[in-house]
Symmetry: D2
Subunit: 363 residues, 4 copies
């Protein structure tokens, strides 16, 4: 969505989205290297086996099945279709990507399941609300949709991270009601990097059955790995993927990206850098007058507010970011506080942050 | 699908599939160049406007709407979903990709439409059969599925090409029954290169409403352009694409491929080379003893048969291709004729063909 | 759903549901009369033409198209599928039948549309909430589901009635956002009978495009008429109905019921009686000690609360009705107020009410 | 579908369809009797338990689960949705009701499965053709739709009956490929009555997993029983039924019909009468000059041909039936043979047949 009131593409100071930035050089190199001779198509390429091995090892999950797709929406919707029947409901946060940014992909792929919207600060699902919703549905009859699956986003849409305790609180509620748990991990790397825990602790060891392991927002051209900790869904996933048009013939170009991403924990290095830069950005914003940080800066995003005239100045000087929520207007009372989302990615530099902060300070 | 009775990946002499080969260097260069700084995501990148302009100009279709997806199955299924209602039927050849190789993607994306299978030599739809099928459905009532759309593949799955006359015969029948026409153009470049006609003559000027313009089989990493000659379907297409998980955030990497593909008619050069190599391969096979060519070699594929012992020898020496149909066995009576499909791509060389033919001659 | 804590089937004092009661004798007579000789099937029976004429005349809508189905869920879901695309959202009340009691039928029939839940007292949609939701969706992009349709229930699930002014407030908001309006009229007869207005005033004259005109809850065996004030949806509706398995071969038995229902405004007489009995019941409950009426008694339902011991006494003496919401327990502190739903139908008598009230008074 | 070239509704001599005739008096009486006092809704009525018991006993299947719907299309499509995944294909006869007369209901309810069309005389599936189709699909990969289910119609659309041996031939093929078998038994009663076998022999004992046990074509107003011999599908069926809008609130009126239908084997008596009348009709037609019987007359339908002038005479004198196939024209060369379908139902009399035959003889 292109909004009139922003500049998305700056030579620098671009905090619009982690998917507006470039791919990491290690990734691009791997893609170029993969373009050599012949390779079996449709996922039978040799590199894909390496991807599987790396994920199984890194996640301490030797039985996990792994499949690649090119978009986060595909990863999420295909996972949910495997976990939730058409007559089920998917419990999710009101501000989750599956609800707000996928144009109904979960409904489409599941064959018409429902999404039950839950509240919670910082886009984390409030356990009490989940508990109430599940209890409310408890005496199931044929008249209502059935309890289907729980999906949560880690890191959240507001840049917060569920730690393993918070995660377990939710997965245990799901388990008590016998529904499986999916994690939208478009920024899973950022969550792991923030917590310093093992990927296993933040996934299957905490009761997660399926994970969309994001790459696109973290330096890939466009690949997400679906990690099925319950391998029984694997064949169904493959059929749904093919039927959804998401099986790549020249699959080697997906494998190559994911392989390089995992090699030497590049994924955590890239995410760690983005997190650190966001933290630095958040601290610097905090130190400016008339500003406030709106959500904990745990991953690679800063949600903050400051007076409108500073937004005007920042836009004028070429900074790129979204006013958040979008409905706010750039024109009007110069002292009114407007809120914004600023996203850092693997390539964002401290000096960009410094130049940006200077605008906030000098105006 | 990996079959036991073939070697797919040879250092050379690989005729398994046009999607087992590499991307063209011009394409890879463009991808690398695209990886610079920030770009608007989701198709709002600058290069996409160039793609639109190039296609509109090259197809003499200033009103056409163009959208990119990464797989042919997505392109086909999304087009058909825009053209055929859930209660309609799509007329197609029995051996078409939409029927045989998409795991029901058209049924999924249309919301449960039917495919009506037609016969015809060389995977070209027989006009008499289409006429009969449409007449048969003519006195439509509510009990039957309704006439929905016609889809045909050019070049066909058997490497034949519909010329403009043959194409018009079918589109006129469709027009008489008021159903729109889609072309699966996974090898459209090969068809245009073979005929030497203009892209417009082989599409909208001949009554085609929507075209899946293939790139992946012809030197791209994975991009297909959907060309909607009737722009009224454009917004619906965009929504279906997003909802299907086929809208790329880092869309610039798709745009870059398609832009380079169109620049200086690279697409036709690549396809022309593949066609010429296939023609040469076909001629050489014809000149061998005990061989027969099974379909006209018009695009980049040769369907031929020769004795089993020569297949065994070819496999042994590292040639890669599929026995076609797959059910044939590599072991058995050495003189039995087995049929095969051999596909050339932009990178296949005459010397590979020569080495391959030598095997057929010497054994 | 059969709950342990109620007696549904009493010889009398049964207020469980308007669909637990019998069919009206005029209706049953018509069904018996229809069982004579041969009739064209699938809606081509002669009586269906009479049904069409009666509805067009009574609704002052000569162009309306009318189709019959046997269940309210079918009527609602088929209407919504005609009005809302798969990528749209249906605005509805959080407690509406389409959300709570159809096991996802709207999602199924629309091909995966979403339901956006709105608040409002007495299960009437709050116009301010609708306005906000529509505005919130206003800057539509491809990432979100699109504004699809508005559906409201009249009389509501809480027995309240939208008058023509309240109705227009909502339909004007919908019109401003260019989305069509459907009315779930499972108890439309009760609403018209309550208001004393014309059916046209409460439907197309107030901006309604499609109406599920209920019969089953008001004395039929099982028939609902779908009234399409915009006849352009008619053929699509017919195809969706057939494809949904809702076109009856021996359709005459549906036609006969609806015809008798409309003849001499039987539908309004039956609903008027049920309304009057409910009003009487509500007044009588009000006059008892320790009771409260929870929603305006405008149609044929009373929502009220009184002490648990009186519920226990009522159940013991054979009264049938649901504690509402269902989660309440019949056992426990005898003075605690528990709420209940009591439904009157065309056959409920004042003497039943009197006997029931006596229980509340004497205990 | 109303065709110009037929008279559907005659005072007598109506052989148009078994669903154009009346309901049997025993059935109508049961409906009238059911209209007494209050009954639990949605299938919890007392009579439904009797229906379950009767079917379990009569089919010697104590574990079978039974559910009622009102149309054959609903029964078939809901069964197939439980048996075949969205990515599967349903093997069926080219002329089956699911393919030709349900406007894509199986595709809709399964979520986009495919139907694979098989040939076979008299609308019986040819075992060799099924075998070939299943073998052809055997080396399943992700590219093709998967083997889903087999459905066959008994008695067939051409009035032929599969005996238990013929049935087993097909079900054993299905079992060898591990796909379940559904029987469209819209005229199952006619098949059982013809063979004189037990219902169990013609269903679960022969490997059938799910049966649509028809009532509507055999004297009911509109009820079909779904008999799930594998009860594991039962809850899924109930959810799909509700979600499809096929769960009746005043379910007692469905139960009552099915209960009376089963009582004292009325179903077999009604079907036996229809079969006998058809046999008599067939014999009489055979004995006329210039006629031919086109399919074995085993159930309640006669397919035959005779000169056009006799069709003209029959229509003129008020006989009602379809020319079959429909495309034939009533006007033209008087001696040309035209084929017709004549259907007898429980109420067709020998004297009607005699009057009809007299027309064929006297003209």
């Amino acid at each position: 969505m292109i909004l009139k009131n922003m500049r998305l593409i700056g030579a620098d100071m671009n905090f619009a989205s982690d998917n507006a930035g470039p791919a990491a050089p290690e990734i691009m190199d791997a893609v170029v290297r993969a373009n050599h001779g012949y390779q079996s198509s449709y996922g039978a390429d040799g590199v894909m086996q390496s991807v599987r091995n790396r994920i199984r090892e890194r996640f301490e999950a030797p039985d996990a099945e792994i499949h690649l797709v090119a978009t986060g929406t595909a990863a999420n919707a295909l996972c949910l279709a495997c976990l939730c029947p058409p007559w089920g409901t998917v419990y999710c946060h009101r501000n989750s990507h599956v609800e707000e940014d996928e144009c109904g992909a979960p409904e489409f792929y599941t064959g018409g399941a429902k999404l039950t919207l839950l509240e919670g600060a910082h886009a984390r699902i409030d356990p009490a609300g989940l508990d109430a919703a599940l209890r409310d549905a408890a005496p199931v009859g044929v008249h209502n949709v059935q309890k289907g699956a729980l999906t949560l986003t880690n890191a959240t849409e507001n840049g917060a991270v569920y730690d393993t305790g918070q995660l377990r609180q939710l997965t245990e509620l799901a388990a008590a009601h016998e529904i499986p748990v999916h994690v939208d991990g478009a920024r899973f790397a950022n969550a792991v990097a923030y917590l310093g825990c093992s990927p296993a602790e933040l996934s299957w060891k905490a009761g997660v059955k399926a994970l969309s392991l994001g790459g696109t927002k973290n330096g890939l051209l466009g690949v997400e790995a679906v990690v099925l900790f319950d391998p029984r869904h694997s064949w169904e996933f493959e059929l749904r993927r093919k039927r959804g048009g998401h099986l790549f013939s020249k699959h080697r170009f997906l494998s190559a990206q994911m392989d390089a991403y995992l090699e030497g924990d590049l994924w955590l290095k890239l995410a760690g850098h983005a997190n650190a830069t966001a933290r630095y950005l958040g601290e610097q914003i905090s130190s400016c007058e008339n500003t406030a940080i709106l959500h904990p800066v745990e991953a690679n995003m800063v949600f903050a507010e400051w007076p409108r005239r500073l937004h005007q100045a920042a836009y004028e000087r070429g900074a790129g970011y979204y006013l958040w929520p979008h409905a706010q207007q750039l024109e009007g009372d110069p002292d009114k506080l407007l809120s914004a989302r600023l996203v850092c990615n693997w390539s964002t530099t401290e000096s960009e942050v410094d130049r940006f902060i200077e605008i906030l300070r000098r105006n």
